[in-house]
């Protein structure tokens, strides 16, 4: 198609349509946000955060040690005792509304910053991450003065200081999921962003300053796993963690026996179940959204496709054609569908598991898309002939890799979907509502999407069962995690 004359297009080969990286207002150095001010780490330690699409450093970020974490927790405690616990719900609401508005006002900057630091396509950070982050603040702002009506009895009290550890897959959005309900309920927070994606949380800290949120109500400590461990070991009243099941178990052990309330939002191996009467074109889109959204770096990704045998061939044929169309590349290009893998370590893990999939006998199909030379990339991949025993059917890949299995009856679909230690999310595709509800009732998953996938809304509770964690984020239910009820 390259030699086709421009006036008679044989295909629309989109020219690059990149966002300008300058919109992110990147700074060379970022400090910790403690007690309302940006400070260096007490030992001056820093780490580099990279652009995963180019492997080039973006900024130096302070690395919080034990002393810094202690200072942040102390600042949160002071702010809780002296200010925040005495601040009325209506006042707290107004701060949260301000934050929501500031995120909306600075949305483009935040979107570009997020795509730079995380590698996700600008279309997603612009259309999903940032607007949803604002929406969570907006929604929970509305709860701050209505806690009496949330169903937890009259005058429910906050817990105190919350230590919150968030992952790298939706850095800003996860910060919003954690901070908004905590602040609405009257807690103060120490937030620990992921090591590879600290920047948007620090931009959010600037927004908190612009909102004139009282000092110490929110503190941000950046660093690696040891920073998170220090936070969990601190005298906090609550720990909220989103991340891998492995680390979640570790945290649960660490807080065992201490007066700490815990919520965990961990991994998953979501089944996307397709019945033969499903709307096929939307099914294909749903499968693609389910596994290739955010490069598959989604704990609730529909990483197992369970398709009824009678339509398996048809679905797979259409799916392959659609996978070939996915545009992989520069996250800042507005036409990019799949961006960069967030880190070298994650890329290695995906490679290892997919290599295992081939060794175990599954058939691999990889999109023929061209990949950039530098940066961390993995082409969208679909495994067929997958058996329940294969590692790629059981372990969370956390990448753009789909495992396809088939079933014959609704019972078999449910049995296979539930044959996992996880239980975060599932999808059901059918035009028959009765069957969808029958299946949904039997699925052991915190969320079931019917004829859609990967939908999030501040009004809707999200969270897992079994080894996908406990506690809910979103909706009235999400308040419970931050109330002493």
């Amino acid at each position: 198609m390259d030699d086709a004359p421009a006036s008679t297009l044989s295909a629309l080969e989109y020219d690059p349509a990149p966002e300008s990286a300058a919109l992110a207002r990147l700074r060379e150095r970022y400090g910790l946000f403690v007690g309302g001010a940006f400070v260096e780490a007490s030992d001056g330690a820093t780490f580099e955060t990279l652009n995963p699409a180019t492997e080039e450093p973006l900024a130096h970020v302070a690395r919080a040690g034990d002393a810094d974490v202690a200072a942040a927790v102390a600042a949160a405690r002071r702010a809780y005792d002296k200010v925040w616990r005495k601040t009325s719900g209506a006042q707290r609401a107004k701060y949260l509304y301000r934050i929501a508005r500031l995120i909306q006002e600075r949305s483009r900057e935040l979107a570009v910053l997020e795509s730079l630091d995380n590698g996700k396509p600008i279309r997603e950070s612009r259309d999903v991450d940032v607007p949803l982050a604002a929406a969570y603040f907006f929604y929970y702002a509305g709860w701050a003065d209505k806690l009496d009506h949330a169903g937890f009895g009259p005058d429910p009290r906050p817990l105190g200081v919350a230590g919150q550890i968030i992952p790298w897959n939706f850095p800003l959005l996860m910060a919003a999921w954690k901070l908004a309900p905590a602040l609405a309920a009257g807690n103060t927070c120490v937030l620990k962003p992921a090591e590879t994606t600290p920047l948007s949380a620090l931009a959010l800290a600037e927004i908190l300053q612009q909102a004139e949120l009282p000092d110490g109500v929110v503190n941000v400590v950046t660093g690696d796993g040891s920073t998170g461990a220090a936070l969990v070991a601190s005298p906090v009243d609550k720990v909220a963690f989103t991340g891998s099941t492995e680390v979640g178990k570790l945290i649960q052990r660490r807080v065992a026996g201490r007066p700490i309330r815990l919520t965990l939002e961990l991994g998953g191996k979501g089944a996307n179940i397709v019945f033969d009467d499903a709307p096929i074109d939307e099914v294909v889109e749903g499968i693609v959204d389910g596994i290739f959204f955010n490069q598959g770096h989604v704990c609730c990704a529909g990483s197992r496709l369970l398709v009824q045998e009678s339509v398996a061939e048809e679905v797979l044929r259409r799916l392959r054609r659609r996978v070939d169309q996915l545009r992989v590349g520069d996250p800042l290009d507005k036409n990019t569908d799949v961006g960069a893998i967030n880190s070298a370590a994650q890329l290695e893990k995906i490679r290892e598991l997919t290599a295992f999939g081939e060794r175990e006998g599954a058939t691999r199909y990889t999109s023929p898309c061209a990949l950039p030379e530098r940066g961390y990339w993995f082409a969208p991949t679909v495994f067929t002939d997958v058996a329940q025993t294969h590692r790629i059917a059981r372990e969370e890949v956390f990448g753009p890799v789909l495992s396809v299995l088939t079933f014959r009856t609704p019972e078999e679909a449910v049995a296979k979907a539930n044959n996992t230690t996880y239980g975060l999310a599932c999808g059901v595709w059918s035009e028959k509502g009765s069957r969808t509800l029958w299946v949904a009732e039997r699925l052991r998953a915190g969320v079931v999407w019917a004829n859609t996938y990967n939908r999030f809304d501040p009004a809707s509770p999200f969270g897992g069962v079994r080894e996908s964690g406990f506690g809910r984020e979103g909706g009235r239910h999400g308040l419970e995690a931050y109330l002493d009820v």
């Binding site: 198609m1 421009a6 006036s7 008679t8 297009l9 044989s10 295909a11 629309l12 080969e13 989109y14 020219d15 690059p16 349509a17 279309r123 259309d127 009467d277 499903a278 709307p279 096929i280 074109d281 939307e282 889109e285 749903g286 054609r321 070939d324 169309q325 507005k334 036409n335 035009e431 004829n451 859609t452």
Partner: protein, 333 residues
């Protein structure tokens, strides 16, 4: 039921990514209403939320630079420049034809539009003024736009247009019969019109705004294709809801699937309400990513529009000069 002979295999696509018919593919011969009903019922449903989300996502595609320039020219070459007013006169049609031949006289390399679309009584006027230009003459027929006339009257209407020299005939289906479930009647009528068209290409207007649901749009698309339509067209432009992006998406899915299962390529015409370059380019993106590159051709995709051309011409100038052009530079027709 009238028998339809399988249409000739026209699939000539060398593009790697383009679809190919499955082995042994041909257009099924529809012999009874029962069979037709079964064929249409076997089609997958459309989830409205998903289809609209897909269209909205594709609408965020950003065409820049060379792609945009090429896409504007392509869109121009796909326009059926249309006038369908009670007040139409030979003079009005003549000036429209002049515009069709040379859309932008100051920019001689501007592509001509695909066709000029008029009522049957003005076909001969259009034919005269377009002679030698390569621009085709399309005529609406079959008691356009309501289609509420007897079969005999509709066929006479078609014959009138064809005799006057129409290269393309845009018929409307009987939505009343379709919605009442008299599918055989709708089918037979398309077949009869197809025959009356002779060598003229047949575009079948579904009037999606009256069919309302995407499931109906998909079934009506297949019905028209099975009955021999060369094109399926969204709308008359005369009702409240005309072409929309998700409706066009569903129709493009239908022509893609039809080509795959029968080997026959059917075109799509989006008509009514498309006024800006921005909207037109969104349609081209949906064409590109749904039916595929084979349909990026005036032989397989058209816009039924009147004011769209002027916006395309303005944007075309903007692409070349870098400055926004003054609307007065473009002729008002």
């Amino acid at each position: 039921m009238v028998e339809v002979s399988p249409a000739p295999l026209r699939l000539v696509v060398d593009d790697e990514r383009a679809l190919r018919p499955r082995p042994g593919a041909s257009v099924p011969v529809v012999e009874s209403e029962v069979q037709l009903r079964a064929l249409l019922r076997a089609l997958s449903g459309v989830d409205a939320v998903g289809a609209e989300a897909r269209a909205a996502k594709l609408a965020t595609r950003s065409l820049k630079r060379e792609t945009k320039r090429a896409a504007i020219d392509l869109a121009l070459s796909m326009v059926d420049l249309t006038t369908l007013e009670g007040a139409d006169t030979p003079g009005r049609v003549a000036s429209l034809c002049a515009k069709a031949r040379r859309p932008d006289p100051e920019e001689p390399d501007t592509p001509t539009v695909a066709a000029v679309c008029v009522y049957p009584d003005l076909v001969s006027t259009a034919k005269t003024h377009l002679a030698g230009s390569g621009v085709r003459v399309a005529s609406v027929a079959t008691a356009f736009p309501s289609g509420r006339a007897s079969r005999a009257v509709k066929l006479l209407d078609v014959a009138d247009a064809v005799v006057a020299g129409a290269d393309e005939v845009d018929m409307v289906i009987d939505r009343g019969a379709f919605l009442a479930g008299r599918l055989g009647e709708v089918f037979d009528e398309v077949v009869a019109v197809r025959e009356a068209c002779g060598p003229a290409h047949l575009k079948v207007i579904l009037e999606v705004g009256e069919l309302v649901t995407y499931d109906n749009v998909r079934r009506a698309s297949w019905l028209a294709m099975l009955a021999g339509a060369d094109f399926i067209k969204t709308s008359t432009g005369k009702v409240a809801v005309n072409a929309t992006l998700p409706t066009t998406l569903v129709m493009l899915e239908a022509v893609r699937d039809f080509a795959e299962s029968t080997g026959r390529l059917v075109g799509v015409k989006a008509a009514g309400g498309i006024r800006t370059t921005k909207e037109a380019l969104r349609y081209l993106v949906v064409v590109n990513e749904t039916a595929g590159s084979a349909w990026l051709d005036p032989a397989l995709f058209r816009f039924g529009a009147s004011s769209l051309v002027n916006d395309l011409l303005l944007q075309r100038r903007k692409q070349r000069s870098g400055a926004y052009a003054r609307p007065d530079r473009i002729s008002v027709d």
